[in-house]
């Protein structure tokens, strides 16, 4: 976020920055510095909580961005996978006696499996049809979580045990800030590696034109499925973290509104931009907190700001600003 908001005084070094930007390690390094420096500005556990939430949702958005921004497929049911991950760490320890970390992994594996099975038929659909199918999938998960009250506690949700690793209990906002920060960095690095791999190029080819991609020898169905499964795993881990962080989980985590929120975060930050996933999430998590001073008008202003961003920063915050900087340079 910070390297995009250059002040006029920083202009002379911009050209050097621009060339640095092309270095393959530039973004991971910048992100690492960002999450390492952020705690200096966090005064209370409330701030840490907001920061941790940003990173957790950004993790889910990273995966969704691979699917939307690179493979060009939409998912309006992505919170369903967050729900699977969240309830895995809730149900695993409570009903099956599994440790939290194993439940988290099991949740991710289950999400991958579900995505694999569901993705096959669903990803054959295109545009609105795909949107509606994924939407249905998300609703389905939310309904199951709401109705299977014996396991999930129903609409009121259930308590989630703290995660324990080798006798150490993960609790407190500062701890969770670092856990989610490290995971986000790993997730971002993984996503960057994928983008620079043949798979990433194949995904972008699909994004630009499915027919062209298949003519070039890309196994379109397989690559799309791979992106979908990967996105599901990201969301599942994010859901698990959210549940472990909050200590209580309700079916809202898998709800339709949450899915829309994830898509909004990706679109707002910038499709096909790793940094965009973080920026979009930060905007949508932090803004509602700052806008509470407006009382009854907060939702109106939030909507207005989002509309303005989409009008004036059409490609999403990060890509538009990056393009603006690039245009100045040349």
């Amino acid at each position: 976020m910070q390297d995009e908001t250059l002040t006029p005084a920083a202009r002379p070094i911009r050209s050097r920055l621009a060339s640095l930007r092309r270095h393959p390690l530039a973004l991971p390094a910048a992100l690492t510095v960002l999450v390492a420096v952020t705690p200096l500005f966090l005064a209370s556990s409330y701030h840490y909580r907001i920061a941790a939430l940003v990173l957790i949702f950004a993790l889910a958005c990273l995966g969704l961005n691979l699917l939307m921004g690179y493979a060009g497929q939409i998912s309006l049911g992505h919170a369903g996978f967050m729900g699977i991950g969240a309830y895995a760490v809730a149900i695993g320890p409570a009903h099956l006696g599994l440790p939290s970390w194993l439940s988290l992994l099991a949740g991710a594996a289950l999400s991958a499996l579900v995505a694999f099975i569901v993705g096959r038929p669903i990803l054959r659909l295109k545009r609105h049809y795909l949107a509606v199918a994924t939407l249905g999938f998300g609703l389905l998960i939310a309904i199951v979580l709401t109705n299977e009250a014996e396991f999930t506690g129903g609409p009121d949700g259930m308590a989630v045990e703290r995660m324990q690793l080798f006798g150490w209990t993960a609790k407190g906002t500062v701890t969770w800030y670092w856990i989610s920060a490290i995971t986000f960095l790993l997730g971002a690095k993984l996503a960057l590696n994928l983008i620079d791999s043949p798979t990433g190029r194949a995904l972008r080819a699909i994004h630009d034109g499915e027919v062209a991609a298949s003519v070039l020898g890309v196994d379109v169905a397989r690559k799309k499925l791979a992106a979908f499964v990967l996105a599901a795993v990201y969301a599942s881990v994010a859901g698990s973290y959210l549940a472990l962080f909050n200590g209580h989980i309700t079916p809202d985590v898998a709800g339709f509104l949450r899915s829309i929120e994830l898509v909004a975060m990706v679109v707002l930050g910038g499709m096909g931009s790793i940094l965009g996933s973080l920026v979009g999430t930060a905007v949508l998590v932090v803004l509602p907190q700052t806008l509470t001073v407006l009382h009854d008008y907060e939702h109106m202003v939030l909507g207005l700001i989002i509309i303005c961003i989409m009008i004036f920063l059409r490609e999403g915050i990060v890509p538009t600003l990056a393009a603006a900087l690039g245009a100045r340079r040349s």
Partner: protein, 382 residues
């Protein structure tokens, strides 16, 4: 390429100004997180209006022990994750001394650990029994529970010598929770549940389920735990099928709206409800009468809307807190907590509250009145 800059800069400057303007002054801060918007706004909206109205009135009357109150309300839009964030914010940023809020059970349970850790008294306005069972040291609640509604219905059934009942429940949060509670307490009251049916929150016809009940053996009465328009449809279908068994609805539909939706079919339906609903019809000697009549008048005058029991829960929560603070001689959280726990004989809109270290709700079955609908209006069953 400069066009994007101005609006963004404008928005940023605006935000900065707002944040700066949000600085507070030294008053006793009472926090609240309510579902003012979103799917549970029917709870949060009257709760918020009630809290604001009465905090204003208390301040106008000179505050509590000479100290003025400031109410900090956040809207969680029924999202427990947001509720928890706001709970942290109330503790860390606003440094509130007590919290009255939590419209939904999900939000309340998500927030409870925050206030437990911060050692701030928290009076919840949500229904489920899990909030106070097991007892959490710093958490209290004012609304009666589903269990009590079931018990009230079962007590009434016993008096009519009816022991075999069928349940037809909505699958929404309310119906589900009450269904489970009714099944749990039925044996204690000598009631046998001989048949169970469910319907979705948005179903528009319950004739098939009711036909099953009609054909089931040995059903003597039907109980319908549910919320929203479902119970009204059940009631209509019930009459259409010509079922003559007594029908019990839950406190979830204790509003005029239910009678309007169900029409003539509602006649003869019984349901447990808080005294607030029949404020005018209470006998003069009733201990709750002055409280409920006064609250109803104040609320309806100020807001121009019909009074709801949910706003009443907020009234009870705030008043229990204020009384405790008066007894404690200030808003020292630990002392206030101890005093809330000692609340006894407090007459609220929900009933007479007698708390104890093992009971952080403090209501008994007398909090519910059994009503019967007669030609489109409530009557008190004695």
């Amino acid at each position: 390429m400069w066009s994007w800059k101005m609006p963004v800069a404008g928005v940023c400057a605006g935000l900065a100004m707002l944040l700066a303007g949000g600085e507070a002054f030294a008053e006793i801060k009472i926090g609240s997180v309510l579902s003012v918007t979103g799917p549970a706004s029917f709870l949060g909206d009257p709760e918020k209006k009630t809290l604001e109205m009465y905090v204003e009135a208390i301040n106008a009357a000179g505050g509590v022990n000479g100290e003025m109150l400031e109410l900090v309300v956040y809207d969680d839009a029924a999202d427990p994750n947001a509720a928890r964030t706001f709970a942290t914010r109330l503790v860390e940023q606003d440094e509130v001394v007590a919290v009255v809020g939590g419209s939904t059970t999900g939000s309340t349970l998500a927030m409870a650990p925050v206030f437990e850790e911060a050692e701030i008294p928290f009076i919840s306005l949500a229904g489920a029994i899990q909030i106070v069972e097991p007892v959490r040291q710093w958490v209290f609640k004012t609304p009666h529970t589903d269990t009590m509604a079931c018990e009230k219905i079962f007590t009434d059934l016993k008096e009519r010598d009816l022991t075999s009942v069928a349940l037809i429940s909505g699958t929404g949060g309310f119906g589900k929770s009450m269904h489970a509670q009714c099944k749990k307490v039925a044996p204690d009251h000598g009631i046998t549940i001989v048949h169970e049916e469910t319907y979705g929150p948005r179903d528009s016809d319950m004739t098939p389920q009711l036909t099953n009940i009609k054909n089931a053996d040995g059903v003597q009465a039907v109980v319908n735990p549910g919320f929203g328009q479902g119970p009204a449809i059940v009631t209509r279908n019930y009459r259409q099928l010509g079922i003559s068994l007594p029908l019990y609805q839950s406190h979830g539909v204790a509003s005029k709206q239910f009678i309007e939706l169900a029409g003539d079919a509602a006649d003869g339906v019984r349901l447990p409800a808080a005294a607030l609903l029949i404020a005018d019809k209470l006998p003069d000697g009733d201990p709750q009468k002055p409280v409920v009549v006064s609250y109803k008048q104040t609320y309806e005058e100020k807001t121009g809307q019909d009074v709801s029991t949910f706003g009443g829960h907020a009234y009870d929560g705030l008043m229990i807190l204020i009384e405790a603070a008066k007894r404690a001689g200030g808003f020292e959280p630990a002392k206030v907590r101890d005093e809330i726990e000692k609340t006894s004989g407090f007459v609220g809109t929900g009933g007479v509250v007698n708390m104890s270290p093992s009971d952080h709700l403090g209501l008994d079955l007398s909090a519910f009145r059994m009503l019967e609908i007669e030609s489109g209006d409530w009557t008190l069953v004695e």
